[in-house]
């Protein structure tokens, strides 16, 4: 039905043209103009998606634009930091007493553990030197590039972060990203001075891992199914023993396959928070609580292979 652009007074039965208005660009525009503009924007968006997704033609421009935005992001971060620190301080204060008790117990246990570990490490170094043993790649074989986290995950379904290190620092796609606590993920794409990191909690991330106290229990740590944000330690045979609170670490490359693991061995992943098995599943059902809090990362370390 065609639009009638006149105001018709029912009583008089005559049509009156409304005076041209000023001030509102959208309403002055005709319906056709409006449709052309929105159609053009949608089309432009689709072209951008296609070009950005299928090629790297826009990477340079995007990297430059992101670099221009970076000082603003840093400034906003600095402005908000006192408030964040205050919130953290208040939160810490509320839990301080309970945490203090827990940490004192932990310190006692760890002091005993440290003495055992130190003698084991020294023994290990001596034996390796005597045997001339060359083990699989470990974290020591990588150069460490420290970087600040510029942008944290934007929504519940976004499992990526932006970091302030890129190809200029030697970072490349596929490099492993860690923190002092444990494994974070891998570099998805590297620009000049920034990179996008896919977190371990992304459904497309997975890492070959093992139980630190039961090295024969090897499986894959990946995101759990459904809507949960939990990691699972999958493909661990029922015959292997995995206990609660065991530490799960990356297994590195096992054997001499054609496709070695991109993760060096020995990176902490998390602790076993639950374990169960039933007659239907071939493998154990193991949930892992990650060491890293992926939502509030401040800085990370990129492991760059020594090329």
């Amino acid at each position: 039905m065609p639009r009638n652009r006149t105001v018709r007074f029912a009583v008089l039965g005559s049509s009156v043209q409304r005076a041209a208005a000023s001030g509102h660009p959208s309403s002055r525009s005709s319906a056709l103009k409006r449709r052309i503009i929105v159609g053009g924007l949608v089309l432009l968006s689709l072209v951008l998606i296609t070009v950005s997704f299928r090629s790297s033609a826009l990477d340079g421009a995007q990297g430059t634009a992101a670099s221009i935005l970076r000082p603003f992001e840093v400034a906003a971060d600095r402005v908000s930091r006192p408030f964040r620190d205050a919130a953290g301080w208040l939160h810490g204060l509320a839990n301080a007493k309970a945490e203090n008790k827990k940490l004192r117990l932990q310190v006692q246990t760890l002091q005993q553990q440290r003495i055992h570990d130190e003698s084991a490490v020294q023994e290990n170094v001596q034996l390796r030197a005597q045997l001339g043993y060359h083990g699989p790649p470990s974290i020591a074989n990588f150069r460490r590039v420290s970087a600040a986290v510029l942008v944290n995950p934007q929504s519940a379904i976004d499992e990526s972060i932006t970091i302030a290190a890129g190809s200029h620092d030697g970072v490349a796609s596929g490099d492993v990203v860690i923190t002092a606590q444990g494994l974070v993920g891998t570099v998805d794409k590297a620009w000049g001075s920034q990179s996008r990191v896919t977190l371990l909690t992304d459904s497309q991330s997975a890492v070959t891992s093992t139980d630190l106290t039961s090295r024969a229990a090897v499986g894959i740590v990946r995101r759990g199914g459904g809507g949960s944000d939990v990691l699972i330690f999958d493909l661990v045979p029922k015959a292997r023993y995995v206990a609660l609170d065991d530490t799960v670490i990356t297994a590195g490359s096992i054997g001499k396959g054609a496709l070695p693991s991109m993760f060096p061995g020995g990176i902490p992943v998390g602790t076993v928070s639950s374990t169960s098995e039933n007659d239907i599943n071939t493998y154990k059902t193991i949930q892992v609580e990650p060491f890293v809090n992926f939502a509030t990362l401040q800085s990370v370390i990129v492991l760059v292979p020594r090329r």
């Binding site: 009638n4 652009r5 105001v7 018709r8 029912a10 409304r18 005076a19 208005a21 000023s22 001030g23 509102h24 660009p25 959208s26 309403s27 002055r28 525009s29 319906a31 409006r34 503009i37 929105v38 924007l41 949608v42 432009l44 968006s45 689709l46 951008l48 998606i49 296609t50 070009v51 950005s52 997704f53 826009l58 995007q62 634009a65 935005l69 603003f72 992001e73 906003a76 971060d77 908000s80 964040r84 919130a87 942008v151 944290n152 995950p153 934007q154 929504s155 519940a156 379904i157 499992e159 932006t162 920034q194 990179s195 996008r196 459904s203 497309q204 459904g226 809507g227 939502a295 509030t296």
Partner: protein, 170 residues
């Protein structure tokens, strides 16, 4: 002048979203950019809303190093649609910003999910649905102050300036 003001408001909102809100886990579900954009679109119409949405989306995609155009597409459509609502039915209705934010939050979440699915990225529908209520609540909470602020910056235009197409029924 309105264009410059809108650019500044949406730029600040985007920075706030990127640098502050995402630092606190519960606030990751909210989107101050979406609320600010819808407020601007309601007050300045469909074309303004669509252009503002496109620019804001491009800014977010650039800052997060995401696939360019994804957020632009969603925000252009959202800005246009709510702008059109503002030009027609929503005039002087108190509930208009709240209704707009509620509906668009819902559609934006699932639209984002659908686009991720089409692009072959992870698209956990359960996670989106699970976090939707919190996101909706936080966005509605943000609507009152954000809309009040933006209404001061973009005073509503006279009725004569806004309505030109009138069709009488009967």
């Amino acid at each position: 002048m309105d264009g410059l003001k809108a650019a500044l408001v949406l730029f600040v909102a985007a920075l706030f979203q990127l640098a502050v809100l995402t630092e606190y886990n519960p606030f990751r579900a909210s989107s101050i950019v979406l609320v600010a954009l819808l407020s601007v679109a309601l007050l300045r119409g469909s074309i303004f809303g669509a252009l503002a949405g496109f620019g804001t989306g491009l800014l977010l995609d650039t800052a997060t190093l995401g696939t360019l155009g994804v957020t632009s597409l969603l925000l252009s459509v959202a800005g246009f649609w709510i702008g059109r609502y503002g030009e027609t039915t929503a005039r002087d209705r108190f509930h208009a910003p709240f209704l707009s934010v509620a509906v668009v939050t819902l559609l934006y979440s699932y639209g984002q999910l659908a686009l991720r699915f089409v692009l072959g990225e992870s698209a956990p529908a359960g996670l989106v649905t699970h976090g939707l209520l919190l996101g909706l609540f936080l966005n509605l909470l943000l609507t009152l102050p954000v809309y009040a602020l933006i209404r001061r910056l973009f005073p509503p235009l006279d009725l004569g300036d806004r309505v030109r197409e009138v069709r009488l029924l009967g």
